[in-house]
């Protein structure tokens, strides 16, 4: 035989549990929290807004921004024009034209290496595919253009551009880069106190074991 279900009289239970204090003070407590938050906001104790051009959010060490082509010791591009990145690219935004390198051990070098920044989807597959650690990414995200031609970046711009030290290095192989150097001196990543103390954990380093010191490596 099926067991009889226990019957609960909800209204009776609610009546027994309710009280004047709960009914009146409960909403007031909640309202107090709301008003506290409002006061915090008005007095500037909590400020959700990042005032963008002056303040910036600190990006992760693995942020995928505009690409960088790394260099050899002598400053020539490390790329050997193997087409691995162009093959891996889901957006087909990389155009490489190889040329023969005088050094027989290197075989090829890119006579042209163009990336269409507008078509690029910043997936980082090229960085993963590269066998030579020749292409890495920066934390630079403020790219915009008035024409489409401006966003075809050639090898010169990919290797060195004046705004790079400000943004620094982004997504790159998760180990010490053996021979690669970059053609600029990255600044130390500064830890900045950010607006919004509640939700942001800005001091958390995402991958602390990554070492990349272009002066030593």
């Amino acid at each position: 035989m099926k067991k009889q279900a226990k019957v609960i009289d909800v209204s009776a239970r609610a009546e027994s549990e309710s009280s004047f204090t709960k009914g009146v003070l409960g909403p007031l407590v909640g309202m107090g929290l709301t008003i506290n938050r409002m006061v915090d906001n008005l007095t500037g104790k909590v400020n959700a807004t990042i005032r963008y051009p002056e303040e910036r959010r600190a990006y992760s060490d693995r942020y995928r921004g505009a690409h960088i082509l790394t260099a050899r010791e002598d400053g020539s591009p490390r790329c050997v024009a193997c087409y691995m990145c162009a093959t891996a690219c889901p957006a087909d935004c990389i155009y490489i034209e190889p040329a023969e390198h005088p050094d027989p051990l290197i075989e090829k070098y890119p006579a042209r290496f163009d990336i269409d920044m507008l078509r690029c989807v910043f997936c980082g597959f090229c960085v993963d595919a590269c066998p030579e650690e020749a292409i890495i990414m920066s934390r630079e995200s403020e790219l915009c253009a008035f024409t489409r031609e401006e966003t075809m970046w050639d090898i010169k711009r990919l290797m060195q551009r004046p705004e790079l030290p400000e943004f620094g290095l982004g997504y790159r192989p998760n180990q010490t880069l053996v021979d690669s150097t970059v053609k600029f001196t990255p600044k130390e990543k500064e830890k900045k106190k950010l607006a919004g103390r509640v939700t942001l954990k800005e001091d958390v380093e995402m991958i602390i074991h990554v070492t990349f010191d272009p002066t030593k490596d």
């Binding site: 807004t49 051009p53 995200s141 253009a145």
Partner: protein, 185 residues
């Protein structure tokens, strides 16, 4: 340098018209009302830009209008499919002058990772784009940066030429002077 530039500006447009130009441009760039128009994932970033963390209202561009008749700025945010193309064009045509367009993200700018039969390869095939913003999707900062560049572009315009005309200066002369002016800057 400054004096030279002043002379160029004065001969090309006159001091009154440039002052009026400045006021017009300042008013236009300070109240860029965008169209509420999101096509795909970039629209999420556009919403984030409008929300309190990044707050596009600080640049006067946070009032997303529900009607193209009230908006100045079309942010094409997302993948424009061929099916959506005529609608984008229609929204653009319904917007009153002056109007500007931002192609936000890889898809809207070039088609991005979709070189396919169904995707429009860049929204600039159907509407004139002022600013292209790379990214997939661009961060809110990138959108704000693009917006600031658009405001810079608006400050370069000469709206009073349509009212007062150019006097005896022909279109070619005005353009060549403008080019020289820009080169001097």
């Amino acid at each position: 340098m400054a004096k030279e530039r002043e002379e160029v500006v004065e001969t090309s447009s006159g001091i009154i018209t440039t002052s009026v130009d400045f006021v017009f441009n300042w008013a236009r760039k300070s109240a860029l009302w965008p169209m509420t128009f999101g096509l795909a994932c970039c629209a999420i970033e556009m919403m984030a830009t409008g929300a309190s963390r990044f707050d596009m209202d600080r640049f006067g561009a946070g009032v997303f209008r529900p009607s193209p008749r009230q908006s100045d700025l079309l942010i094409v945010s997302g993948t424009p499919t061929l099916k959506m193309g005529p609608i984008i064009r229609r929204v653009w045509d319904q917007m009153p002058e002056p109007k500007w367009c931002i192609a936000m993200g890889a898809c809207a700018s070039t088609g991005g990772p979709f070189p396919t039969y169904s995707t429009l390869q860049g929204v600039d095939r159907i509407v004139p784009v002022d600013v292209y913003i790379p990214g997939c999707p661009p961060r809110p900062e990138a959108l704000l940066y693009g917006l600031m560049r658009l405001q810079d572009k608006i400050m370069q315009e000469h709206p009073t030429r349509f009212v007062f005309g150019r006097g005896s200066v022909s279109q070619e002369q005005a353009e060549s002077r403008e080019a020289a002016e820009n080169a001097a800057v």
